[in-house]
């Protein structure tokens, strides 16, 4: 069983972009601040003029955990699985599973790049995998 994101009015552009293979975030048209998760106005200057921009998709692993004890029935058959925090080069942080990498090889500070995983028909998650070829399984 998979858990799918339920977009709302504020977040739909993010998930629509992921379906199209693009990682995006909100940027303020006035002060150029970039942030995630989505907000109704700029957290730096308060402007309501906001645009969705494509991101490089490159970042670094900030932290990670291997989860052995499922807290929801939908992931009971997935344990153990890894959850990581990725800090993007543009600043925002995303939650990810690290693909194409053995769990034990995941390290804080590791450079990663975005990839898109189709978890259900036409539903895509932005995910990350190591930039360096050496650590891929």
């Amino acid at each position: 069983m998979v858990i799918v994101p339920k977009p709302d009015a504020l977040t739909r552009p993010y998930w629509d972009a992921a379906r199209a293979g693009r990682l995006v975030a909100q940027r303020c048209n006035v002060c150029s601040r970039i942030w995630h998760p989505p907000l109704p106005s700029c957290p730096a200057c308060g402007a309501q003029s906001i645009v969705w921009i494509p991101l490089s998709g490159n970042g670094v692993i900030y932290s990670h955990t291997i989860i052995h004890h499922a807290a929801h029935a939908a992931v009971a058959d997935r344990t153990p699985y890894l959850v990581a925090l990725v800090t993007l080069d543009e600043g925002p942080r995303l939650v990810s599973n690290i693909l194409d990498c053995p769990m034990r090889a995941v390290r804080i500070g590791m450079r990663v790049a975005v990839t898109f995983q189709e978890i259900a028909p036409d539903i895509f998650l932005p995910q990350f995998r190591p930039l360096e070829a050496g650590v891929r399984s």
């Binding site: 994101p5 989860i67 929801h72 599973n97």
Partner: protein
């Protein structure tokens, strides 16, 4: 506000895995016990505060106890942020003259009823589809699909970052966290009210605990509990008329800053959980410093939070709380005994309210593991809320 309000009554039910009673009954039992301890009647109560997570409403309490004239009531959001938030807001209301005798409660069947260690209450199943919605972390649309579901997993991410910045390897980190868990268990072994009163824990036992979310093992996590606790606060003059040992509120606070929600993963620096200057203001408001604190009761959703709290509240530098624990420990003879009732790890999980009742017992001199000459107690939840109480 310093010293203008005081806690004059505490009440606590049995803490168990299955209370067999409704949360309403638990709340009323704890409140009646706190009122009796304070020596005041329900008729005297004019203010009510609860955690907004509580299922027992102010109206249910007023109706059941027949309180004739409540003039002020309030709900405080979050868990650990509410812990000292209830103290801050009760004291503020009393100081402002809005209320004179305020009752605060938290009642939960968290083990036999809705378990906070499970995510089903936040992630909805609609036929064959399971949806993560909203932007709550954990479990919202940006974390739920990836399997980040409950606070204990967010805290594992904090802890792993901490180990990285502290330069701790897996075994080294386990020895520190284990020391916290084992000491808190020892406190619980001396506390007949603790769920783990009869269960001993040593390092072998700690390490044998199964991994839950690395680097945190079973005994790094709080218990799941049924139970309730309550306290009564009033102005200093009334408090002195009621009893010889009021527990004064020297300072109390809540804290929010962007992405600081207690279980977030989005704050830029996940080593810091308090707004800039907030802890300095706490000590300034109280007129004391870390060196004046006799005992600390830290909101221990996980053992890791004790390390983090030691740093947050000025007992150790950033990423050095682990060294403090190895050097000094947190036992009854340590410079700073911590969670002397066993805490959430080993007494039970009443959302931090049992830390407040223990703080009061320490200052009255009636704790099971009594710290000699306890004069000031720090309550802290990792920067999200804090209070300093004094006799």
């Amino acid at each position: 506000m310093r010293g203008s309000a005081a806690i004059v009554g505490i009440g606590q039910t049995e803490i168990s895995r299955d209370s067999g009673r409704s949360e309403w009954v638990l709340a009323l039992d704890a409140i009646r016990a706190a009122l009796a301890d304070a020596g005041v009647e329900p008729d005297d109560v004019d203010g009510l505060i609860r955690y907004s997570y509580d299922n027992v409403t102010p109206a249910m309490v007023v109706r059941a106890l027949g309180i004739p004239d409540v003039r002020w009531f309030s709900d405080i959001p979050f868990g650990g942020t509410a812990q000292c938030g209830v103290i801050a807001q009760a004291a503020a209301a009393i100081h402002a003259g809005i209320a004179r005798i305020v009752v605060v409660w938290r009642a939960l069947n968290e083990r036999s009823g809705v378990r906070y260690g499970r995510a089903e209450r936040h992630i909805e199943t609609d036929g064959p589809v399971v949806y993560a919605h909203g932007d709550r972390t954990p479990s919202g649309q940006f974390s739920g699909p990836f399997g980040l579901h409950v606070p204990g997993q967010s805290m594992a991410l904090w802890a792993q970052r901490y180990a990285h910045e502290a330069g701790l390897d897996t075994d080294g980190f386990a020895s520190v966290l284990g020391k916290v868990a084992i000491q808190q268990r020892a406190y619980a072994n001396a506390n007949p009210a603790a769920m783990m009163h009869d269960r001993l824990l040593d390092l072998d036992g700690y390490l044998a605990g199964r991994m839950i979310s690395e680097p945190l093992r079973l005994f790094d996590y709080c218990l799941e509990s049924d139970g309730a606790a309550a306290f009564v606060m009033t102005d200093a003059a009334t408090a002195r008329a009621l009893r010889s040992d009021p527990v004064y509120v020297l300072a109390a606070q809540q804290s929010l800053f962007p992405n600081s929600e207690p279980i977030t993963v989005y704050a830029e620096d996940l080593m810091v959980h308090s707004g800039a200057g907030n802890v300095a203001k706490l000590y300034r408001d109280a007129g004391v410093g870390p060196g004046d604190i006799s005992v600390a009761q830290f909101y221990d959703a996980t053992s890791f939070m004790v390390l983090s709290d030691l740093e947050t509240y000025g007992f150790a530098p950033r990423a050095a709380g682990w060294q403090y624990v190895l050097e000094h420990g947190i036992g009854p003879e340590a410079p700073l005994p911590v969670n002397t009732h066993g805490g959430h790890l080993s007494e039970g999980y009443l959302h931090g309210m049992n830390h407040i009742t223990e703080a009061v017992r320490q200052l009255r001199g009636t704790a099971c593991t009594q710290v000699r000459n306890a004069e000031k107690v720090l309550l802290g939840c990792n920067g999200a809320s804090a209070a300093i109480l004094a006799r």
